[in-house]
């Protein structure tokens, strides 16, 4: 295993071990960077050690001791001396990682996604610490400047230290609520990658891949939590459509126009197995219901064969238990497919009159689409025009502009 692959595969694990050993997030991170730098320098010449991970951990431990010895500020020194004392007493086992992997990565997830941290900070910290993404990469993925992202990470780590956010798996009575926060963070990472809210591409592959990787870790580490499994299923099923969702010129392709043959069947199979097992084990929560909806889509051989009745029933359940404007919007789109665009339009009217999703371009975009399908060209055109200023994603905008041009020409034809 070369240095780079080890870094990608095991960064989170090794960092988790070091945080426990050192009791200090920042120090663990710095020491780990030092150790990987040393590996890059030494391995090519001296050959790879027998146990690369153990080498990294023990090197990082020495680097941490060096760093602690060189701390000069008095207040740091006292804490450093205490850490040094425990560090020098604690023995290093031959492979300090294997035996405790499970608990440590979970601990790190729960620390990074602690609800006392802002959601932005949770996402950044999770990508940095568990996935090993660099500050540059995270800044690029979320389209903020590198200094802004660096500051966000520094503040999050400061809060972990100053407010004493614990490094442990929450006790049973807090676990459901805290797991919900973890899953939400992972899903936000996925969504930002899957339906990028801004930027030049519709999908940012690196984010969806990291979210799925985290989803796998969570569902492996907590096999009895059906919601973790359901979230993984949901992400796999969505992501299986990635090739068909984007046209050759980078524009999004609506679900009913996608070529189902371009869906990733193996990944769909994995997702279906997971969602079925989650539902069988009693999970009918937020992610399980959404995964079930995507599963019905995935099981259709072509768009015309989609079981829209079943999808509508699942949306009814979802709206009943986890009502939100976005759920209502999607439900209206499903009803439009099952019962016709006019019925969908009624639901959108109701949603709009409640004032939900005022600045969300997908509401006017969905409305314009239904008007287009009803042949109400002029209204459709006016509604596309209303949606356009709200879009920040470039390919999405091009897609809507193309639809607008279509309905404008139909409208001219209709007037003769």
């Amino acid at each position: 295993m070369d240095v780079e692959r080890l870094y990608r595969a095991d960064y989170g694990r090794i960092l988790a071990t070091l945080i426990r050993l050192l009791g200090d997030f920042d120090l663990a991170e710095e020491a780990l960077q030092d150790a990987f730098a040393a590996a890059l320098e030494q391995w090519p010449g001296e050959g790879e050690p027998a146990s690369p991970r153990a080498w990294i951990v023990s090197t990082a431990r020495h680097k941490a001791i060096d760093r602690l010895r060189h701390r000069t500020r008095f207040e740091d020194k006292r804490a450093a001396l205490e850490t040094l004392a425990t560090l020098e007493e604690s023995p290093v086992s031959s492979d300090p990682i294997e035996s405790v992997v499970t608990d440590e990565r979970l601990r790190l997830v729960f620390t990074c996604c602690h609800p006392s941290l802002a959601v932005d900070a949770q996402i950044a910290l999770t990508l940095r610490s568990l996935c090993g993404l660099s500050t540059d990469e995270i800044a690029r993925a979320f389209l903020v400047s590198v200094p802004t992202m660096a500051q966000r990470l520094v503040r999050a780590k400061q809060k972990i230290r100053d407010a004493r956010i614990p490094y442990r798996i929450p006790p049973d009575e807090q676990l459901p609520e805290r797991l919900e926060a973890v899953l939400r963070t992972v899903y936000l990472v996925f969504n930002e990658g899957y339906a990028a809210t801004s930027g030049d591409t519709v999908v940012r592959r690196e984010l969806t891949a990291e979210a799925i990787r985290l989803g796998r870790v969570l569902s492996e580490l907590m096999p009895d939590r059906t919601e973790a499994r359901a979230l993984l299923a949901l992400m796999l099923l969505h992501d299986a459509r990635r090739e068909a969702r984007i046209s050759a010129n980078g524009e999004p392709v609506p679900l009913e126009e996608q070529d189902h043959r371009r869906w990733d069947r193996a990944q769909i199979q994995e997702g279906l197995t997971l969602v079925k097992s989650a539902l069988r084990d009693g999970g009918a929560g937020f992610y399980a219901l959404q995964a079930a909806i995507v599963a019905v889509h995935a099981e259709a051989e072509c768009a015309e064969n989609t079981d829209w009745r079943q999808i509508t029933r699942l949306y009814d359940l979802l709206a009943e238990r986890h009502s939100s404007p976005v759920v209502e919007l999607n439900r209206a789109a499903a009803v439009a497919m099952a019962d016709g665009p006019a019925r969908g339009l009624e639901l959108l009217d109701a949603l709009e009159s409640r004032g939900g999703l005022a600045d969300y371009y997908l509401l006017p975009a969905a409305r314009a689409d239904l008007l287009r399908r009803l042949g109400r060209w002029e209204e459709a055109a006016a509604t596309y025009r209303r949606a356009l200023p709200l879009v920040a994603n470039e390919p999405e905008r091009r897609f809507l502009e193309r639809r607008l041009a279509e309905v404008e020409s139909k409208s001219r034809l209709a007037r003769g």
Binding site: H114, S116, D162, A163, R164, I165, P166, P170, Q174
Partner: protein, 116 residues
């Protein structure tokens, strides 16, 4: 580590309650406070008189400026506090969640700067 739990609630809302509801609400503070005394978490605490009794003091250029208020522009007002000893923020949050006012107001959990 010590945390200050700042209790915020809407005075206006509380004023609209019946006497029986108010009595039941204040009574719930008894067992809560006894609980954290017994468990060793309690360091200090008090309920506060209404915001109308408040005075704000500032010193500018050596001059003391005393005014009425703070102005009650905010929806929720500071109504009381506890100072507790807890091992980490999770323990502090768990205690904050048991404060009777948390059910309709809010509790801000602030770590204190370590003293000497």
């Amino acid at each position: 580590m010590q945390y200050l739990l700042l209790i915020y609630q809407r005075e206006a809302e509380l004023n609209g309650w019946t006497d029986a509801d108010k009595a039941a609400f204040y009574e719930a503070y008894g067992p809560f406070t006894q609980g954290i005394v017994k468990s060793g978490h309690m360091r200090a605490g008090a309920g506060l008189q209404p915001i109308a009794t408040a005075t704000t003091v500032r010193v500018r250029d050596g001059k003391t400026l005393t005014t009425d208020g703070p102005f009650a522009e905010t929806k929720e007002q500071l109504a009381g506090f506890y100072l507790i000893e807890a091992k980490d923020i999770d323990e502090a949050i768990a205690i904050a969640a048991k404060i009777p006012s948390a059910r309709f107001g809010s509790v801000e959990v602030r770590p204190t700067i370590a003293g000497h």
